[in-house]
């Protein structure tokens, strides 16, 4: 075992030293190529140096950016790494396949889309969450238009982080395709769409989201609530209530996420449509609407915000104080409100913003 450890140590140290040497020797040539497009023949990698050149390109890919750099990176990778990655995708070693997919993704190698699609269709790939997700990412950046159909067909459910990451990479066309099929999408994806609209400033889709919240989702919630209270006697009641409750929970969460998204954007052209949330029993909804009022600096909502300082929920009270501090930019006005308050808890929270 000592022999094995020593041998592998010497081998890995040698490999590291060689990689370092190659990277040092060719980094200037690579930099000039990526930035200015001046290609030097020394950058044509020998088969045994492939991984060293891959590391070199990857390092540049993380530290420099720009349209030309991206174009040259892609071109170089497609020119020299295509066969290398094709072989790695066929490797029985899991880490090699992951490394290949990461490389294809990082260098945006669209010329391997067919191979990657074929790779994804293997059952063992779909069963492996890491491999399948990386493959989906590659297909998204390769502008594969039927990506969400593919996910639906294979009943793929990703985490919200993964959906969000995918959505940041979608092209305009892919976004349109996604929104047009909103009704058929799974719950997790719907939530992530709302998040993504705010996070990635997809303001074109804000009216769509607002319509979903104020009309469809809210009405749906009212209808679900009434159906839970008065379930049809013709059906199996317990089961029906359970299904309705689950749907209601999902709708409630969608409303909260939608409101959160609007509050992050900090603007809406139709504020009156959201006033009904001032009277909601769901504290998260109230918190979001308070945040929105603060960001939009709506003076007419001052009374509501002051009243919310005494809300039974601590987070709502804190958000109300924050919104008031945004609304009333002058410290003196906050002090006036402070002096008129009877509630000691509300006073303490407001004091925090006054002293800031």
């Amino acid at each position: 075992m000592l022999y094995y450890i020593s041998y592998s140590k010497v081998k890995s140290n040698k490999l590291d030293a060689r990689n370092k040497k190659i990277m040092n020797t060719y980094k200037n040539d690579m930099y000039h190529y990526l930035v200015n497009g001046h290609f030097s023949q020394v950058l044509v990698p020998r088969a045994s140096y492939m991984s060293s050149f891959e590391h070199l390109l990857m390092q540049f890919n993380y530290i420099i950016t720009g349209e030309d750099v991206k174009k040259h990176t892609k071109h170089y990778a497609e020119q020299y790494f295509t066969e290398y990655y094709k072989q790695m995708l066929l490797s029985p070693t899991w880490s090699k396949r992951v490394n290949a997919l990461t490389g294809i993704f990082d260098f945006r190698m669209e010329n391997l889309t067919e191979e990657v699609l074929a790779f994804y269709k293997q059952k063992k790939v779909q069963k492996d969450s890491t491999l399948s997700y990386l493959t989906i990412k590659v297909l998204v950046v390769s502008n594969y238009e039927k990506i969400f159909e593919l996910l639906r067909e294979n009943n793929v459910e990703l985490s919200s982080f993964q959906y969000r990451e995918l959505m940041q990479m979608l092209s305009a066309q892919q976004w349109m395709n996604l929104i047009s099929t909103f009704e058929q999408l799974n719950y997790g994806l719907k939530l992530s769409i709302f998040d993504a609209i705010a996070l990635f400033n997809k303001l074109d889709y804000q009216p769509f989201m607002e319509e979903q919240i104020t009309v469809m989702l809210y009405e749906q919630r009212l209808s679900l609530q009434s159906r839970i209270k008065n379930p049809s006697r013709t059906e199996r009641i317990d089961k029906q209530i359970e299904v309705l409750q689950e749907k209601l929970d999902e709708t409630n969460e969608l409303i909260i996420r939608g409101l959160k998204a609007i509050s992050i954007i900090g603007h809406t052209s139709n504020i009156t449509a959201f006033d009904l949330f001032m009277f909601t029993d769901v504290w998260q909804e109230k918190l979001m609407i308070i945040r929105l009022y603060g960001k939009m600096r709506l003076a007419e909502k001052q009374q509501f915000l002051v009243a919310s300082l005494s809300d039974s929920n601590y987070l709502v009270r804190k958000e109300a104080a924050h919104s008031l501090s945004l609304l009333l930019l002058k410290k003196e006005k906050l002090v006036d409100i402070y002096e008129q308050l009877d509630d000691q808890f509300a006073k303490d929270i407001l004091l925090d913003y006054i002293s800031e």
Partner: protein, 466 residues
């Protein structure tokens, strides 16, 4: 009247059965760890984790640093935390009534001023004297409170924290730049199914530290430290890695772990009545997961590293090990109803028995083994050839498991670049069972004694700082 021969026979059967069961268990753990490591061998980890460096994808984290008399290392530790490669975080240092200059050093170095921050007291703690905030580093806080112990300090930090996840770090530890990104990945990937994660803790004595970062990893020249390095490798790369694979892990080291605040508060926060508050919290989390009948996980991630300072003298090491073993027993005793309780599924049927019979009783059996051997030498009744053979087998087994841990580390992480360091680790791993292990047995037996007499103090630790 019990005959000596019967006594001899019964003890031999106990030792053989115990050693066989433990060996099988360790072997199974090795297989699990080996399979996980084999899968990730040669993985390009930088590229693999790169996308997590974006604020849109990560979850904000509050880093809690409880500090009691940590003036030697606290500045390095905080500097390493504020330099972390993580999009959104806050650092909260909790000065737990230190008698040294921990608080004043922080206030002076980071130009901290009193803050009137209002926060919800969701966990009971000792009174807070003052909360400070830095004027030069955003999101750096200092809670100056009365002494209440590490658990109490962490609970105070949880109360002040602004984010849904918190990371507990020891005041004498240093995180690698991308450690937080790596350790939180399972939480993000699982959409909240994973409620706590722990990373690897490694020993940094004699390594070169600059600007709060480990610049060059060296293996210490002190044998006592090298044995601890090996011990940590075995504990993290073999034990926790294997147990975590099936959600069986009962410890996330207090030096480096990320937790869901919501679940920790549900569990009542850190317990102030034990010195093993880190293990107690994880056991409590497992307990409420099963009580709530929800599918939540607690996982270990081997790649992210937290560097810490190991005791260099046997006096302080002995204190540490006594405390650790006392903490283990306190936790096991407090949650004794979980042992063999089918309600807690694999935790009650596998993890708890493992910690009771291998971790807790291990030193007792080993200690009794040494006594028994002496008795046999005095009263006779042993076959010398057989004993020597058994002793060699014991050495071989003990060493092989340890050597495998060194091998796994070298295979996958290659932290030590010098071949001489790896060689040294190998040789020490082979001899650990002769020198170091008997010492830890004695320390752990003293830990049991401390538990039985109801000792409650931590025991002073001397730090020289990383």
């Amino acid at each position: 009247m019990i005959q000596w021969s019967d006594f001899l026979q019964v003890n031999t059967i106990i030792f053989l059965s115990y050693t066989t069961i433990v060996t099988i268990f360790y072997f199974i753990m090795f297989i699990f760890s080996f399979r996980s490591m084999k899968k990730e061998k040669n993985l390009n980890k930088v590229a693999y984790h790169y996308s997590l460096n974006s604020i849109e994808y990560t979850k904000p984290v509050s880093i809690l640093v409880p500090a009691y008399n940590e003036e030697a290392g606290i500045l390095q530790s905080v500097r390493s935390l504020i330099a972390l490669n993580y999009p959104q975080l806050e650092v909260i240092v909790i000065n737990d009534g230190s008698k040294d200059e921990t608080a004043s050093k922080l206030i002076e170095h980071f130009k901290m001023v009193p803050s009137s921050q209002v926060f919800q007291k969701r966990l009971d703690t000792k009174p807070i004297k003052q909360v400070y905030t830095s004027t030069i580093v955003s999101n750096l806080w200092l809670i100056d409170k009365e002494n209440g112990g590490k658990a109490d300090a962490l609970n105070a930090g949880i109360n002040l924290s602004h984010y849904s996840y918190f990371c507990s770090i020891d005041g004498d530890s240093i995180l690698e730049r991308d450690s937080l990104t790596k350790v939180i990945k399972p939480i993000i990937d699982s959409d909240g199914e994973v409620i706590a994660t722990g990373g690897t803790v490694r020993i940094a004595n004699d390594s070169v530290i600059e600007g709060g970062q480990v610049k060059q990893i060296n293996l210490s020249k002190k044998p006592l430290v090298i044995y601890q390095v090996i011990e940590y490798l075995r504990a993290f790369l073999l034990g926790r890695m294997a147990l975590s694979r099936h959600n069986l892990m009962l410890i996330i080291s207090g030096a480096f772990g990320v937790f869901s605040k919501e679940w920790v508060i549900k569990a009542g926060g850190y317990s102030v009545n034990t010195v093993g508050e880190d293990m107690e919290l994880v056991v409590k989390l497992h307990r409420i997961i099963k009580d709530h009948k929800v599918n939540k996980k607690i996982v270990f991630v081997s790649d992210p590293v937290c560097w810490t300072e190991a005791p260099e003298s046997s006096t302080y090491l002995s204190r540490q090990r006594r405390r650790w073993h006392r903490g283990l027993i306190e936790t096991l005793w407090k949650h004794k109803r979980m042992l063999f309780n089918p309600k807690y599924k694999s935790i009650g049927i596998i993890s708890m028995p493992y910690y009771w019979f291998v971790e807790f009783l291990g030193p007792v059996i080993e200690f009794w083994g040494y006594i028994f051997l002496i008795l046999c030498l005095i009263y006779g009744g042993i076959y010398y050839e057989f004993t020597i053979l058994l002793f060699l087998a014991f050495l071989l087994y003990g060493s092989i498991i340890t050597v495998f841990s060194v091998l796994l580390d070298e295979w996958n992480y290659r932290r030590y670049s010098k071949i001489s360091d790896v060689f040294k680790l190998y040789i020490y791993a082979l001899t650990e069972i002769i020198w170091f292990r008997p010492l830890t047995v004695i320390w752990r037996i003293r830990g049991i004694y401390d538990f039985l007499v109801g000792k409650s103090s931590w025991g002073e630790m001397k730090r020289k700082g990383l």
